[in-house]
Each structure stands twice: as C-alpha cells, then as structure tokens.
C-alpha cells in the first residue's frame, strides 16, 4: 500500500539550518548535512532543503551544502529557494538533488516548469505555492491567494488555479504552504490543502502548521494530502519521524516503518 510521506524540511541560510516562525524570527538549528542524515535515519521519507539566503554570494555556499548533504543521503532529496533558471536547477541536480522546488520563478516564467522537466523529468520538478486565505472573498479557501517574496507580494492568482496550471505545464508535485498556519504549530490548513489536492491529479505536499501528531492525521485525512512537511517539530527533539509514524500507524494511516 502506498504510504503517506513525512518530509523533513530544513530551512537554510548561509549554510546553516534555521526555522522561521511566520517567515520571521530566525533561530539557528544546526548543520544541514548532519540534520538531513539524522532525519533520514529516524525515518523521514524525504528531505527538503529550502535555501532562504537569496543573495548571489550565497549560491556557492548552497551548492556546497547540497553536495555535502547529498553525499550519504539515500532517500529523495529536494532543494528549493533561489532557483530562477534551468541552469540554476541543473547546478543543483549536479550537486546531488533529486528534485527542485521552484516558486516565484515559476510564477514569473511558467515555462520554466517544462524546461526543467524536459531535461530531468517531471518527477524532478516541484512547484511550491505559498498561499493565504482570502478573508474578503465569499469562499476564502477556494479563493486563497498565492503570495511571493515571503508573503509580501500578492500575485493576484488563486492557489487552486495556479496549481492546475503548474500541473498542466508538467509539474511532478505541488508543495503547498499555508501562510496563515506556517510556524503556528496549530495545525495544517486542511481545507486549503483538500481544495488544492482535489483540483489536481499530481501529489500535494502540505506544509505549514505542524505541531502535533493529530495535525498530521488531520491533513492526511480531511486534508487529502499525499505528503506532509515538517520542520520545527523535528529539529529540537520534540518528536522524531519514527515516533510520529508509530502514532500515525495507530490511527490507521499507512506509513513506512523502517526496521
């Protein structure tokens, strides 16, 4: 049976793992290579490294970080942040990533999705969407808006419609972050996740708001998520992927339990 994936996310800046709380208040949480390895050992199904350095000088640091992290990592490894061109993606793949996550660059130039896919396969392209409910709309969830620049810029597009376009352009997966929930540890936005997941046939990874085991059970159930991303829940020893999965298994959610 296909299992629901628990993906450990490492937000990195200048080669160090940090975790944002609603995109601000960064605190240092360690070495990405060491943490990625630890998460994989503890049962994380995949690792995502999101680079939030965004400066030009930081790119070389990122590639070095990717190379070091990929060296002994034998689960799927995704890298995102600052990938603006097919050449940026290629450099990250050459450094050892299996997938790239593209966000604002895909919005600016949707053809980028197909360009990367043509060389590396659709399975290697994740389109990340940062969305926030639209409280002024009669349907705040279905009309949840896509934001870029850490939530400062409203693209005017809805998450559902952009996810569909990304799929039609050849995205392999969608990584959906609820900006309302991100960093709160109050739970995923299950309604938003379900709206996007039902609108596309490709897998949707839910992100933002993980705090307890129950939150994961909810997003895999009502939220219809194929995978869920978690960062802060792991880093400080709050929980390991293994203990999280054991608890999820008890609620009947299919998870991979390595020996």
């Amino acid at each position: 049976m296909l299992t629901r994936r628990i993906i450990a996310c490492l937000d990195c800046r200048e080669g160090r793992v940090v975790k944002g709380v609603q995109f601000v208040d960064l605190i240092d949480a360690g070495d990405p290579a060491a943490l990625a390895h630890r998460h994989a050992q503890e049962g994380a199904d995949e690792i995502v490294l999101l680079d939030i350095t965004a400066t030009h000088e930081g790119r070389a640091t990122l590639l070095d970080t990717v190379r070091r992290t990929a060296q002994s990592l034998f689960v799927p490894f995704t890298v995102g942040g600052g990938i603006r061109t097919a050449a940026d993606a290629e450099a990250v793949f050459e450094a050892g990533a299996d997938k790239v996550s593209i966000n604002s660059a895909a919005l600016a130039d949707p053809e980028l999705i197909g360009q990367i896919g043509a060389s590396f396969g659709a399975q290697a392209v994740i389109v990340a969407i940062d969305a926030r409910r639209d409280p002024d709309s009669p349907d705040p969830v279905r009309n949840a808006r896509v934001f870029t620049h850490g939530g400062r810029k409203d693209t005017g597009r809805t998450a559902v419609e952009w996810a569909r376009e990304a799929e039609s352009r050849g995205a392999g997966e969608i990584l959906l972050t609820s900006m309302d929930s991100d960093g709160t540890r109050n739970g995923f936005d299950c309604e938003l996740t379900a709206a996007v997941s039902s609108a596309v046939r490709i897998p949707v990874i839910a992100s933002g708001g993980a705090g307890t085991v129950a939150h994961f059970a909810e997003v895999f159930g009502a939220g219809k998520a194929d995978a869920a991303l978690a960062a802060s829940i792991f880093h400080f020893g709050v929980s390991s992927a293994r203990s999280l999965k054991l608890e999820l298994a008890k609620t009947g959610i299919p998870v991979r339990l390595p020996c």
Binding site: S72, A124, G172, R256
Partner: protein, 213 residues
C-alpha cells in the same frame, strides 16, 4: 566490483552513481556501445519519457546491450530502464523496447488515485525468493515515481515450450503491477533503489554481488 552505468540522457545519474560508489563499486559512466563489450556488470537507469530510449537505438547501444546480456553479464534496468526490457510502452507506441520480457507498459488508468504514483510502497516478493531481494523483509518499502507500469507477469509456457518468468516482486497501486523482474542475469526494478534507504542499498548490493550460475 566494476559496474558500467549507461548514460543515454534520460535524467540525472548522480544519485545512482553515488549509491553504487557508496557500496564500494568502481563505476564507469558511458554513452558508447564499445565500452559495453568489456563491461562486467551493467546498469541502465532512466527517468522520464519512454521515447528517450530511442537514443539507445540511435547510438548503437541496443545491440551492445543485447550482446552483453547474451554474454550473461548481470544487467539491471531501473525505472524506464526496466520498462525498456519489455516489448514497448503505450507512452511511445512507435518506440520498441528490447523485448526481453513479454508485455507492453501501460499508463495507470484514470480514477480517484493520484498519477504519478509517487512515494514509498511495499513490494510483495515472489515465493521463489528473488536474488535481488535476499536479506530483505517480505514486504519491504521502496520509493516509486512513475505514471506507466509493467503489467504483472505470471510464469507461463508458450506453445513452443518457451518459458516466461513471473515478476520477482509485485506492488499494488490502482492495479497490481510488476515492481521487479528477474530472469537469469537480467533484472529490472520499477522503483528507485538508490533512493530507497537501507533497503534500496541492499538491493543494489545484491545486484553487485550476483554471479550467474
């Protein structure tokens, strides 16, 4: 352990090569058919579209692979590399496969389930005990990412007495499909052993240590 990885521009080879080196293999990556004449062991990876295998025909790699298989060199196809071992795929109807195994790869039918099939799924290994899965649990989890599948094979004999193999492992997702094939010195896996954690490394190690009898 020497192993030759075929590069036919179908996706990223980095992960496969890295996993093989991690296991202590001496890896040679090549896109030239003449290199296969002296290969001791061959891996054909591949992600993406079945049509990418056309390059194997255009560059002369197809007859070189056929010759290597006839020499009883251990051969492993991964993902599209496994699909190519069949007669073809509905993904690219004009592009023939090697035809080592019978059947045509199909797209997962439309329904409620997501396509592609992405993530960790369990494999149900054949009763005979495939060589590729020695030392693994019966229902090990491995990482898949694909929209086309190899139909499950059952052991059968045709009118001429030719014996066809059963799949080495099967997986359920929408349909019951072949997760792995194994016949003599020829192996195929639909999943990505290089991305399947300790279980995947063990499968690659079993392939690297396999000796045809």
């Amino acid at each position: 352990m020497q192993v030759t990885v075929i590069d036919y521009k179908a996706g990223n080879l980095t992960s496969v090569v890295k996993a093989l080196r991690h296991l202590g293999a001496e890896v040679e990556v090549t896109d030239r058919p003449e290199q296969l004449a002296k290969a001791e062991r061959i891996i054909l990876p591949g992600v993406g579209h079945f049509a990418a295998t056309r390059r194997l025909d255009e560059t002369g790699l197809t007859p070189a692979i056929r010759a290597a298989i006839d020499r009883r060199i251990p051969f492993l196809g991964i993902c599209v590399g496994m699909q190519w071992l069949l007669q073809g795929s509905t993904e690219a109807p004009d592009q023939p496969g090697l035809g080592f195994f019978p059947g045509i790869c199909q797209r997962f039918p439309d329904g409620d389930e997501k396509v592609p099939h992405v993530g960790w799924n369990s494999i149900d290994t054949n009763m005979v005990g495939p060589k590729l899965f020695q030392g693994l649990r019966h229902c090990e989890y491995v990482y898949f990412t694909h929209s086309y599948y190899v139909p499950r094979l059952t052991l059968m004999c045709d009118r001429d007495g030719q014996l066809y193999p059963a799949s080495a492992a099967d997986t359920d997702y929408v349909v019951n499909f072949a997760a792995a094939l194994e016949w003599d010195n020829v192996f195929g896996v639909q999943f990505h052993p290089e991305k399947s954690g300790e279980a995947g490394l063990r499968i690659l190690k079993n392939f690297l240590e396999f000796r045809p009898c």
